[in-house]
């Protein structure tokens, strides 16, 4: 019995080790390994159906893993009953108990653990989410945003070692969503619990999390700090799923010191070796994908730009389309080699707007680009429009 009491009080980092879940012959989560440091805000980001909920359900004990292990600190909880784990979940649909008041909903977990005087803790939790005034109402009498906060309080009041949040903001409109993101982040900092936040909104993941894991088809494509994922994606999926990227194929000519000399239909250029993603081959003739974020490219009318020396890599082209977005203008530029390159230019001066069909020069610093393995789908992760998903 001593072992069991240990598990409910387990704390430390959360480890998922080679975790696999199959439904029949479909593998929803495939040999997934990750470590979530205690007290951190961890986001699991990925498109619909990639296995996020399944992963969370294995951590909470509602789904039994086909293979692999789950540990919190030293305690192995892989096959422990859900009610024995120091893990609580904020469900995708809240799952508030409709026949109980808000107060009783929040008190539920504490009472089940046999804690006698729950009043102060419940009141504090309701205060934290600023809903003290509705404590005696039933869940159906609250707005969606309020219900979401109650679901959060109901989980947080137990001070679990790990708090799982399954797209808790999915049902909220954009404004409330942004507001709740800040609130969640504030609460996490205040109570210092480990948060695992599942979302398919990349902006949400990047603004809130210390560490983001990008998941696709049951595996983790890349994991790291938001800036690291954004600046140095490892795969085409990550490059396209997090923000936008211009990706174009090129071949390796040679390695020259710290630089990689590459060639594409628009000419040859250099990229630093330090900007290479996972599994990139530097053999002569190897195929790679070169990526540059649209906002890192400088666009200028060709005659003006040609006067000065080109700073870094450049390519010339023709503006095919422009759209004015307020803070910036988006240009689509076609290169002589047939590539379409997207550019976001800050609207510093509206006279600078370049009309369609103007000849332009695009320049970017090699250190701002990245080089990926060329043997992957260049379109991976691209059709998922994060704004469309916010609505769904």
């Amino acid at each position: 019995m001593a072992k069991k009491t240990d598990i409910t009080k387990a704390e430390g980092d959360l480890y998922l080790e080679n975790l696999t879940k199959s439904f029949g012959d479909f593998t929803a989560v495939d040999d997934l390994s990750l470590q979530v440091p205690q007290g951190s805000f961890f986001a699991l980001l990925g498109p619909s159906g990639c296995g996020k909920t399944t992963t969370l359900r294995m951590v909470s004990g509602l789904e039994d893993p086909t293979a692999g292990r789950i540990r919190i600190g030293d305690a192995d909880i892989t096959h422990e009953k859900p009610y024995k784990r120091p893990v609580n979940t904020v469900f995708q649909n809240y799952a508030l108990f409709p026949h109980m008041t808000i107060w009783d909903n929040v008190a539920f977990g504490l009472k089940r653990r046999g804690i006698k005087d729950v009043k102060k803790q419940v009141d504090d939790a309701l205060e934290l989410i600023q809903l003290t005034q509705v404590a005696q109402r039933k869940p159906t009498q609250l707005s969606g945003g309020q219900q979401q906060r109650v679901a959060l309080a109901r989980a947080i009041v137990n001070r679990p070692a790990v708090l799982l949040l399954d797209e808790p903001l999915g049902a909220l409109d954009l404004k409330l969503r942004r507001q709740m993101q800040l609130e969640l982040k504030r609460i996490q900092t205040e109570v210092g619990l480990t948060f695992i936040h599942v979302t398919h909104d990349q902006e949400e993941a990047m603004t809130m999390a210390d560490t983001v894991a990008v998941m696709n088809n049951g595996i983790i494509e890349q994991m790291g700090a938001p800036t690291q994922l954004y600046e140095s994606p490892d795969t085409a999926f990550v490059a396209n799923f997090l923000g936008q990227s211009n990706l174009f194929p090129a071949t390796v000519v040679e390695v020259d010191g710290e630089d990689l000399v590459l060639e594409d239909p628009d000419g040859s250029f250099r990229m630093p070796k330090s900007r290479m993603g996972r599994n990139v081959s530097t053999d002569r003739g190897a195929r790679v994908l070169v990526g540059v974020r649209p906002e890192k490219i400088n666009i200028a009318a060709l005659d003006a730009a040609a006067a000065g020396p080109a700073d870094g890599n450049f390519v010339d082209g023709v503006v095919e389309a422009t759209s004015f977005l307020g803070v910036s203008t988006q240009y689509e530029v076609r290169t002589p080699g047939g590539e379409i390159i997207n550019v976001f230019a800050q609207n510093l001066d509206s006279q600078d707007l370049l009309p369609v069909a103007s000849q332009v020069r695009l320049t970017w610093k090699p250190i701002h680009g990245f080089v990926l393995d060329g043997r992957q789908d260049i379109e991976a992760g691209v059709e998922i429009d994060p704004d469309a998903l916010v609505v769904s």
């Binding site: 509602l62 859900p82 009610y83 649909n93 799952a95 108990f97 026949h99 089940r112 109901r154």
Partner: protein, 285 residues
Amino acid sequence: MSTSTGPAAGASAPVDTRPSAGQRFSAWFGRNAIKIYAFFAFVYLLLPVAYTFAFSFNDAGRTNLVWQGFTLENWLNPCGAPEVCGSVVNSIVVAAVVTAMATLLGTLIAFALVRHRFRGRATTNLLIFLPMATPEVVLGSSLLALFLNILIPLGFWTVVIAHIMFCISFVVVTVKARLASLDPRLEQAAMDLYATEWQAFRRITLPLVAPGIAAAALLAFSLSFDDFIITNFNSGQFTTFPKFVYVSATRGIPPQANVIATAMFIIALAIVLISQFAGKRKREA
């Protein structure tokens, strides 16, 4: 000017701006049709009850078919006629035992059918409907044949067994409907919040399904209390209230039967009103 009262009358005389009597009647009728319909429906439904109620005050003597004068005697002495109260008590005891058993078994079956996948589940679902679809005469006579064949003496227990059999179906159907609308994630959320399987059932599932179970129990009680055909086949010398009324009909139903029936009606009405009132209070709280 035509005297037709249909809408065509108005359409055929667009010149005359004053509405004709027919038009006025049809407009009035249009506004009040539902009320009129409801009035006649209630008269139709309540007339027998009113009749029964009135004749419970009849100073009947031997037969309660003709009005012979007002008396409170029947109400003051409801057990005055032989066997009336005995049969009522029998019916209540039978209905109570049947309700308890049928509700328990039926609820368990409903849980099994909704929550578990097992072989023969589809067949069970179908079989559950059979007692409801089969004519009572057939059920009653087949059961009688069964009891006679396996030499079970007819009486209280055969009536109870027969009633449980057909009440279970209604309980299963009622509870199943309630259970199917229950989100299984609520139980999962409870288990995530440290409730064991049993606690999750007791604190979440049971309270949420309880209204369905209560409705099923009331249904079972009234079905059992009310049943005559199956009871008549399988009761032997044992007398329930419906059977008593039927049997005494040949020699004149005593006014005490009206008293019992009226009391039953009032009690049922009171239960409905109280539960409605309680439900409203609960929603507003």
